[in-house]
Symmetry: C2
DNA sequence: TTATTATTGTTATTAAAATAAAAACAACAA
DNA sequence: TTGTTGTTTTTATTTTAATAACAATAATAA
């Protein structure tokens, strides 16, 4: 409960009141370990949030609103704060100036990595390269972005060291080029940790993600960069670009065979 | 920004980074009044939230994600906390035991008052009485609930001391009974403050709301109660019930005249 | 090339603010 | 008279803000 912005006392008080139809300060203080004398102002504070209703007799009776109503109120309140914050922030900052970021940047967490990958894929205009080492990494939103790129005429090349995954990709994306990296896969492992995915758009934006299994946990982290200023982009252009060029040449012939 | 759960330092740091494409600890500490030496761990903490990305060189470079992404991440995080809290709470409490609440309860705030009014109207099974003193109080959701009650066969009686509002109600709800309270309106003013609305469902649940104009502000507060245990319900049964009974008798004849 | 100065990154200590916890006490009810 | 209630103050603890210390690294000057 505290994670949603309530103090320990507020959270405890609300929990106690949620367990009974209604109660006095003495009741609450017997259910949870809060001094009776503090219940009055804590309940008042919860009333301000819309989580508690107060019957002003002697003794005072308190009741909690239902869980659903409480959650909704907290959410609405948070949403307002977010909107206000966003509004204030937009007055301070120019329109999104972070379109171009030099260097190499680090992202932690599977979801954030996936988001960045999709963002990169969504912005591909002529060419999109994606390499995935595990089926688990290639999720629905990746499917969507890859298909969307194909639909808008982007040259899409997908790759995986795993043959089953390659077959699966081939079946799902008949219009994409599927590349077997076994010829050059060793050079990619020079990055150290277990590479999970590599996404490159227009040879301009690159993200390289890896899975680390420290502590029995399966965490994904990534580095990404944009433009010739980024060492990562320069490197991947060398490593992958050459393969893509070869595929372009072969691609002409394989289309002929279709 | 602090209202959304960030510490002052975190909020300031994020705001500063949002104003520049990227920057070092020294840059940030020149933009906002935070000790340079604190930027490192604060940015780390913001990275954990997904609000900041860090380029680990010397000097370290920091960049903020875009405002939209930041807000979305904060919201998702809050949502998760809410879901977890709701789940935990549901294991502690029995299914909603707050269906019946004795006594008289107080609500503050126009929205909460309106919600409670709608909740009461939605639960009317045979009879719904609503009295409104001002056009402004009778909002869209009130319209909806009144119509919904009519649609499910509930005896709906609406009333207002304001003739224009009464006419408006009569035009909008041809199937409802419209009552002119001028005969007994004085007794209702004995509650003191300016009554804004009175809702009674099935002579079992009652809410009485009032507008107070303290501090130039227009705040609505309400009291409500359920069942024979509630003094408010008992009182309104006396005051309003008799009128409803009379209307029942007249209602028969007015239907005859339609 | 070496020495000096400036910058950087990490940590420890101190100060201030917020929250938790205990105490005091007047007013009211039984 | 005793017990309960409600409000406020004081004290203790925790969290956050603010400052200081200092080793390591980078940049600059000699």
């Amino acid at each position: 409960m505290q994670a949603v912005g309530l103090t320990e006392y507020e959270a405890k008080c609300f929990v106690a009141l949620s367990q009974i139809p209604s109660g006095t300060a003495t009741d609450v203080s017997e259910i949870v370990d809060i001094p009776r004398t503090r219940i009055y102002d804590i309940a008042e504070s919860l009333q301000d949030c819309g989580l508690v209703e107060i019957q002003k007799g002697t003794p005072r009776e308190f009741r909690a609103v239902s869980t659903d109503v409480a959650m909704k109120r907290l959410q609405l309140s948070h949403r307002e704060h977010l909107d206000n914050a966003a509004k204030a922030l937009r007055q301070l900052t120019t329109p999104d100036v972070r379109d171009e970021a030099s260097g190499v940047w680090r992202i932690e967490g599977k979801q954030k990595v996936a988001e960045r990958g999709q963002y990169i894929a969504a912005r591909a205009e002529t060419e999109l390269f994606g390499l995935f080492t595990e089926d688990a990494v290639f999720q629905d939103d990746c499917f969507r972005q890859a298909q969307s790129a194909i639909d808008r005429g982007v040259d899409v090349v997908l790759s995986s060291p795993d043959e089953d995954l390659r077959e699966s990709l081939r079946a799902r994306f008949p219009d994409a080029t599927i590349w077997d990296p076994s010829l050059d896969w060793q050079t990619l492992e020079e990055f150290g940790a277990q590479v999970s995915r590599l996404v490159m758009a227009d040879r301009h934006t690159v993200m390289l993600a890896s899975l680390s299994k420290d502590d029995g946990d399966c965490a994904e982290t990534a580095i990404w960069g944009e433009g010739s200023d980024s060492e990562l982009v320069v490197l991947c252009r060398e490593l992958v670009g050459a393969q893509l060029d070869e595929l372009d040449a072969e691609d002409g012939s394989s289309r002929f065979s279709l």
